[in-house]
Amino acid sequence: MELLFAQIINGLALGSIYGLLILGFTLLLLVAGIFHFAYPHMVVFAIYIAWLTLNATAGNVALASLAAIGGSLGMAIAIEPIFRPLTKRAALIVSMVVSLGISVVFTDIMSRVLHRGVPIGFPLYFTGKAPIITVGLAVISRGQLLTVVGSIITVVIFLYLLYRTSTGRSLRAIAQNSFVAQLVGIPVVRTSRLSYLIAGLVGGLTAVFIAMFLGCSYGTLGDMLALKVICVALFAGMGNLVGGLICALILGVVETFVIGYLPGDWSNAIAFAMVMVVILWKPDGLFGSRV
């Protein structure tokens, strides 16, 4: 019974990581109008930056976290010019292929150059794999708790930004109809650049949470996360923010249960099988598409 409870917490932690990734991805999809396949790759690269900083500063956790967030922000700012002409043309499909190319560059660098291709691991005081709560056989580690709580706080702050500030109102307006938003006087290009910054910030936080939750990272993690995040987006409906968050949690929990009870590497295939079923039954996703 406690094992089930621990699995659920594990699943929620994994799901909240997917949820944060979906958040940044959907934001870029709706406001900047691009399908950023390489967004999880940027996040994983930020994990590598955190690891490098950890090694360079001999174990300064706060500095490593800041480095991850800063690195993610920097990458978002650096990649934005590549997508700018695509944003103007609202070319979603071309941006998908372009970001596919960028993701391959990231994956090659991470699996060849950084740490000579060997997976990296984070030490115990960083990962928080040390157990905090023990209920019978179940163990809940600090990393899992921090991930869940941190993600909830991040999502709440983001939703507050989106629904209670004027910047959020501009973002929502552009998401609904960018042409009319331009007519009304919202600076579309400047606001979509802001969305890159927000996505980069959230990505950096996600990187820290992944480092705490997984405790390790490898070169092709970006590919794995990207495929799963896109599958969640399709499952929930492209561009549906709240639906995407809910479905990310569902996927996290289902995947953890599959890892626990099915042999082999079927856990990865579960996300894709879910997507296939939804596509056949409800092509626009469970909660409806907003793109």
């Binding site: 391959v104 082999g264 990865n268 997507v275 793109v291």
Partner: protein, 299 residues
């Protein structure tokens, strides 16, 4: 990687077929990558039939292609009516599911794969005959009513529907063709390399194909014919230190070409210039008749 000239040509033929398999659905407005799944099916089924059950190559080829055609038709029944993003992600997911399934089936070799697939001596000629036949087929398709329908679908789907084009049926047909091409390429691949693993039929291959098609030209079938040998040689003929970064180079080239020249290298104006120039050249050489002077009308 050391290659003989005949192996090189066989692989160029395989990649041209795969690039055409990506190109055809792209011309119908969909990014359809399930030809990698049919490639996997074709390769594994024909390898199993030829190696473990002793079937001759033509029979194994036909069965492999038949399996691929059937599965792409069945998949197409569900996928034909979806929008472009959904088809893209669904077929990507299918590639992954197929890889996972094959990895967990033991009589197909599991993660290690199948080895000692029998050799076929006439494979090079066979592969290129298939390429020529496919090229003629695609050329005739493009210059027919179906080809014009594909053009209209690309411009505006609503307009195409209002003109009476059954988009779903056409897309189903194109997807089945793409699946067949993938299966053919898979069978030839397994007999060319004589050993197959599940990891080959994945995203590395897909990225290479996407790179070939977008750099070669997405509006003409000749683009991949010219650029597949050039681009694929990057991984073969460059020094190993640079060739290891093959996928990185492909990624950078993809981003560059989509930003600078989205229609690819060989598009309609280039083909038109080439054909006019070659006709002028042939006329000067005397091979083709000169243009007659237009008759003057009597007042």
């Amino acid at each position: 990687m050391e290659l003989t000239a005949s192996s090189f040509l066989v692989f160029v033929a395989i990649y041209i077929l795969l690039s055409w398999a990506y190109y055809l659905p792209y011309r119908s407005g969909q990014i359809y990558v399930a030809f990698v799944v049919t490639m996997l099916m074709g390769a594994y089924s024909s390898a199993y039939l030829a190696r473990d059950m002793g079937w001759p190559f033509p029979l194994a080829f036909l069965t492999g292609v038949g399996i691929g055609a059937l599965s792409s038709y069945v998949m197409g029944l569900a996928l034909a009516r979806l929008r472009i993003l959904q088809v893209n992600v669904a077929t990507l997911a299918l590639i992954f599911i197929a890889q996972t399934v094959v990895r967990n089936i033991d009589f197909l070799g599991g993660t290690v794969g199948m080895f000692h697939i029998p050799r076929v001596t006439y494979l090079l000629a066979f592969a290129w005959v298939v390429v020529v036949i496919t090229g003629v087929f695609i050329y005739r398709l493009e210059h027919s009513r179906l080809g014009r329908a594909l053009e209209v679908i690309n411009i505006n789907e609503g307009l195409a529907s209002s003109l009476g084009i059954d988009i779903r049926k056409l897309r189903l047909f194109i997807q089945t063709c793409s699946g067949i091409l993938g299966a053919i390429a898979g069978v030839i691949y397994s007999f060319a390399i004589n050993a197959i693993q599940p990891t080959t039929f994945g995203f590395g291959l897909l990225l290479s194909i996407i790179c070939f098609v977008f750099i070669g030209g997405t509006t003409s079938l000749w683009g991949v014919v010219v650029f597949v040998p050039i681009l694929w040689s990057i991984g073969i003929f460059l020094p190993p230190a640079i060739a290891a970064w093959k996928y990185c180079i492909y990624g950078i080239m993809l981003v560059a070409i989509l930003t600078l020249r989205p229609q690819g290298a060989i598009d309609r104006p280039v083909l038109r210039v080439l054909s006019l120039q070659s006709r002028a050249w042939l006329r000067r050489l005397g091979v083709v008749r000169t243009i007659k002077e237009p008759r003057k009308l009597d007042k």
